[in-house]
Symmetry: C2
C-alpha cells in the first residue's frame, strides 16, 4: 500500500491520464497539456481548471482579497496562454468558512472581476459552499483558439525561449515570509501576489505560428522545461548565464542570502511562457516581441537524448534537488 | 460588518450575479441557472461547476471511493440535465491529504470513469493538489445543446411536474447516520450515495420542446420550486398528497419516526427534474415519459402571486423552517 506522498505527483497524473485516455474525435488533446483542446463545431475550445487553497497556495498574511481574486483568475489565464488561446468564460467554485466577512468576499470578487475585464473573460457561473477549514477556490476557464500550440512539438535544433524574467515570484515569497524590508522589495512581492499572465504573448505565438512547443512556467523553469522535453521526447542544453533577471534581482538575492540561480531555475509561479522555435524564425520572433514590448530571451537549444544539460552559472553549486514545486 | 452565515447563501449568490452581469453576446445565460449557456460558433455550450467537500458533502463512513467518484460526476450531470443539454467534457480539480492511499484514488477514478462512460462524458483535464484537511473535489462540466430550457419560462396555468420520487436520498442519509438496519433500507441508501442524474429525461424535454421551465431538485423540492418561481416571477399551488414516494418510503419513515412529507418536500439531493408544461401537452408528456420508462408526476400548477400554496398532506403539521439545504 502506498500513499500519494510516496508515489509523487508526476506518477499520479500519468496514471490519471491513462485512465481517461480516449479515442473520442472531439478530444483533440486530453489530460497532459496546460489545457484540454476540444473540437465543437469548427472551433477549438480550451478547457482548464486550477485551484487555490488557503494554507497551500496562499496565506492571508501575505495578500489581500482583491489581489487573491486577480491571482485566482491569472493562474488559469496562464494555462490558456500556454496553449496560445483566447480566454473567454469562467466558472468559480468557492468554499468559505461561515465566519468570512461579506466585505472580504466582495473585494475578492471585485479583484476577480477586474482581472476578468482586463483579459476579456466573462464569469458565467459558480458554486458556493461552506468550508470547515480555510478558503478553497477553484476556477474552470474555457477559451477559444483557431490554432493551438502544444507541449509536444519541440524538434532537434529548435531554440528555447522564455518571456520576461525568472525568479521574482519565488524571491517575493521569501521576502514576504522572512524579511522586514517589504517596501524596498515591492516589485518581487508584486510578482508573487499579482502575477501577470502572458495571454497576449501566447496568442501571438499561436496566431503567427512562431512556436513549435509552448508551456507556462508555473512550477519552476527546470521542471516545466522537463515537462516540455518529455512531451516532445527531446533533450535540452541551456545556458545558466542566459537566465533573465530583472535589475536588482541579483543584489536582492545577495543581501537576502539566497542563490539567485536556484530561485530563477527552480522557483515556482513565474507564469512566464517557455517555448521553442526553429533558429530561422529568430529575427521575426524578436521583432514580434519588441512590438509586444515583452522581453524574450534565448536560453539554449533542443538536443537529442532526454536530459537537461546546464552550462554556465559560474562556480555556483546548484542544488537541483528541489526541482520546482511538486505537490506531493 | 456581517459574516456569510448572517447574510445567507441566496443573498450572496444574488450579489455575485450582479457583480458579473454582462452584455457580452456570447453569454446567453450567466450566473443564476443550473449551468451557464454560451454561444460559440452556431452551437450552444453549457458550463457548470460543483464541488464535493469531505465533512460537508460526504463522509467516508457512508460511501466508498468508487461511489464517490460516480456521485462527483452525477451532481454535475444533473446540472446539465436541468438545462436539457448533452454532457460532453469534464475537468476535475482534486485536493487530497498526502496520506491518501493510491488504491483509494484509483478506485475514485474508476468510479468517475464508469459514470463518465455511462453518460458519454470525456474527462479531459484536471489539477491535483495537496490538501491540509480532507478531500475537496471540484468538477467543471461542459455540455452542448441545440435547445435549452431555463428556469425562467414558467407561465400562469402551466402544470408542475417532477420525475421519479422524492425524499429517498434524505431518508437514506438519515438511515446511514442513525439506523443499524442498513440492509433492509438499501434502496434509500443507494439513492443517497449513488444518485442517477436525469440526463436522458432533460434532453428529451428540451428536444421535444415539452417544458416551459426546468430545474433539478438538489436542495429540496420546495427550495428548488421557489427558485424556479422566482426566476419565472410566478407562484405555485401544489398538492402535498401528490408528492411521489417509492413503495416502502412511508413505512420506513414511520418506523424511523421521521415525517415523510418533510423529507420529500424539503430533503436534499434527489436530483430529480422539476419542470412546467402547459396542460395541453400533458398527453404527449405522459407518453414520452412512459417510453423513457421514467415515472412523472403532476404536483400542481403555476399561479399568480409569488407564493407557494400547499394543499393536502392530511393533518400533518409541516415544519417548513428547514426549507431545503442552504449552505450558510
Amino acid at each position: 500500500m502506498s500513499s500519494l506522498s510516496q508515489i509523487g505527483e508526476t506518477k499520479i497524473i500519468e496514471e490519471i491520464a491513462k485512465t481517461f485516455k480516449t479515442r473520442d474525435p472531439s478530444v483533440v488533446c486530453g489530460i497532459g497539456d496546460d489545457a484540454a483542446v476540444i473540437r465543437s463545431d469548427k472551433k477549438k475550445l480550451l478547457l482548464t481548471t486550477d485551484a487555490l487553497l488557503e494554507g497551500v497556495h496562499f496565506d492571508w498574511r501575505f495578500t489581500t482579497p482583491k489581489l487573491l481574486g486577480r491571482k485566482t483568475l491569472s493562474v488559469n489565464l496562464s494555462d490558456i496562454a500556454a496553449m496560445g488561446g483566447r480566454p473567454r468564460w469562467a466558472v468559480i467554485s468557492l468554499a468559505l468558512p461561515g465566519r468570512t466577512q461579506a466585505k472580504v468576499l466582495r473585494e475578492f470578487y471585485a479583484g476577480l472581476k477586474f482581472q476578468a475585464k482586463a483579459f476579456g473573460v466573462e464569469v458565467v457561473g459558480g458554486d458556493t459552499d461552506h468550508s470547515q477549514s480555510g478558503w478553497k477556490i477553484t476556477v474552470a476557464l474555457l477559451g477559444e483558439a483557431d490554432r493551438v500550440v502544444f507541449r509536444h512539438g519541440a524538434r532537434l535544433g529548435d531554440l528555447i525561449w522564455v518571456t520576461g524574467s525568472l525568479g521574482n515570484s519565488a524571491l517575493g515569497f521569501k521576502i514576504l515570509k522572512e524579511s522586514g524590508e517589504k517596501r524596498k522589495y515591492k516589485k518581487f512581492i508584486e510578482a508573487h501576489v499579482n502575477p501577470v499572465p502572458r495571454v497576449k504573448e501566447g496568442r501571438t505565438l499561436a496566431e503567427k505560428d512562431l512556436a513549435t512547443s509552448l508551456i507556462d512556467v508555473s512550477d519552476g523553469l527546470l521542471l516545466d522545461l522537463k515537462r516540455l522535453m518529455d512531451a516532445s521526447r527531446v533533450g535540452a542544453r541551456i545556458d545558466a548565464d542566459a537566465v533573465p533577471w530583472v535589475p536588482g534581482f541579483f543584489e536582492a538575492c545577495l543581501s537576502l542570502k539566497v542563490d539567485p540561480l536556484e530561485l530563477s531555475l527552480c522557483g515556482g509561479e513565474d507564469y512566464e511562457l517557455l517555448f521553442t522555435a526553429p533558429p530561422r524564425r529568430t529575427r521575426e520572433l524578436q521583432k514580434t516581441f519588441s512590438r509586444l514590448k515583452t522581453r524574450v530571451t534565448c536560453l539554449g537549444e533542443i538536443s537529442a537524448g532526454r536530459r537537461i544539460e546546464i552550462s554556465g552559472g559560474g562556480k555556483k553549486v546548484l542544488k537541483f534537488k528541489r526541482k520546482g514545486y511538486l505537490h506531493f
